[in-house]
């Protein structure tokens, strides 16, 4: 692609909750792909997530209480905004994403072709995605489309690249997993340019225990509906 990657001005945000056993590996695998500044937002973990992340070389922002992945992501974005980072990339703390995808996601943002790039798990044919995730994602896509009038085929991906405009205008209000849809809806309302690019994903027993299955997904969608219909 030939796009020069601005490592120093790109903040890698890793929201994490009780990922003590895996966070060090995630931070190290990100560092192996380039000299990015990495911030782990420890979302009120009861284990040693913060300590492990620090030892692995990440900057740690510590939430005193567990507020949810949306709240942790927003804290990371607020830190990026305050630190005058031009770009930001969010990546899950459970190791389900491949940090090698960061550069390819960032490239259209750096070239000025997009303000928000979503790492799409379904565009990579080799990904083995559990059926419950596929079903929930389909429902979330439809709900997101209803409010954004923009079709995104992987609305719930945690791997996203943000350009300067996205970092400045996106103010997330939803604390839970609803934030994935909220980002897209708000991006569309603010006329941000969206792109989706293939991204690798790997599920194991631990990552399946977190995130959104069909049942938690339905709860998430109910919250999203409620919030969007009664928003201030």
């Amino acid at each position: 692609m030939g796009t020069e990657i601005p490592y120093a001005s790109t903040l890698i945000i890793v929201p994490a909750y009780n990922e003590g056993s895996r966070i060090a590996k995630v931070v190290q695998s990100i560092a192996a792909t380039g000299p990015w500044p990495v911030v782990v937002v420890d979302d009120g973990s009861t284990d040693d997530t913060a300590q492990q992340a620090r030892q692995a070389g990440a900057t740690v922002l510590a939430h005193l209480l567990n507020r949810g992945p949306g709240a942790a992501t927003m804290t990371g974005l607020a830190y990026a905004k305050a630190g005058k980072y031009a770009y930001a990339v969010t990546i899950d703390g459970d190791g389900q994403h491949d940090p090698a995808d960061i550069a390819s996601l960032l490239a259209p943002v750096v070239r000025g072709e997009a303000d928000l790039v979503i790492g799409n798990r379904f565009m990579k044919g080799t990904n083995a995605i559990p059926r419950s995730r596929v079903w929930y994602n389909g429902m979330a896509n439809l709900t997101t489309f209803l409010f954004s009038k923009h079709w995104v085929s992987d609305t719930q991906s945690g791997l996203k690249a943000f350009g300067p405009k996205a970092i400045n205008v996106l103010e997330l209000e939803m604390d839970g997993y609803e934030f994935c849809s909220e980002i897209i809806i708000k991006a569309c309302r603010n006329k941000l340019r969206l792109q989706e690019l293939p991204a690798f994903v790997r599920y194991d027993a631990a990552s399946m225990a977190k995130g959104q299955g069909l049942v938690t997904g339905i709860k998430t969608l109910t919250n999203l509906f409620h919030h969007l219909l009664t928003r201030h």
Partner: protein, 116 residues
């Protein structure tokens, strides 16, 4: 001659309506919420002022004979309103807590960076 109930219910409904308008003016309720609750209380007033016309039709439609429906309706209205208030209070508190947790996290980091 209006009955006590026909005076009392519209007065209570007006109080709630006034509360909803004030909340909207303070930016705590959206226009959609104001319209929804405004219509709701207008219906309550209408039922109180013309109980026979409305409740008889409603009772006929539902297959219930008693005009007591109006009172049940009012009671439900009050419960809905309280539930609605609680929901918004909870939502606001949640938002404030998250905001506070975020500010503390960012402030702590700022302090750490200034004085490592």
């Amino acid at each position: 001659m209006p009955t006590t109930y026909q005076i009392l219910v519209p007065l209570i409904a007006l109080l709630f309506l006034g509360y909803t308008v004030t909340q909207h003016l303070r930016g705590r309720h959206t226009l959609g919420e104001l319209i929804f609750w405004g219509l709701f209380w207008v219906v309550v007033v209408a039922v109180a002022l013309f109980p026979d016309v409305i409740t008889d039709r409603l009772a006929k439609w539902l297959g219930i004979k008693s005009n007591v429906n109006a009172l049940i309706f009012l009671a439900l209205g009050v419960l809905f309103f309280l539930q609605f208030r609680l929901y918004f209070l909870l939502k606001r508190q949640n938002h404030i807590i998250t905001d506070l947790v975020r500010k503390v996290a960012l402030k702590e980091k700022e302090k750490e960076e200034q004085d490592p």
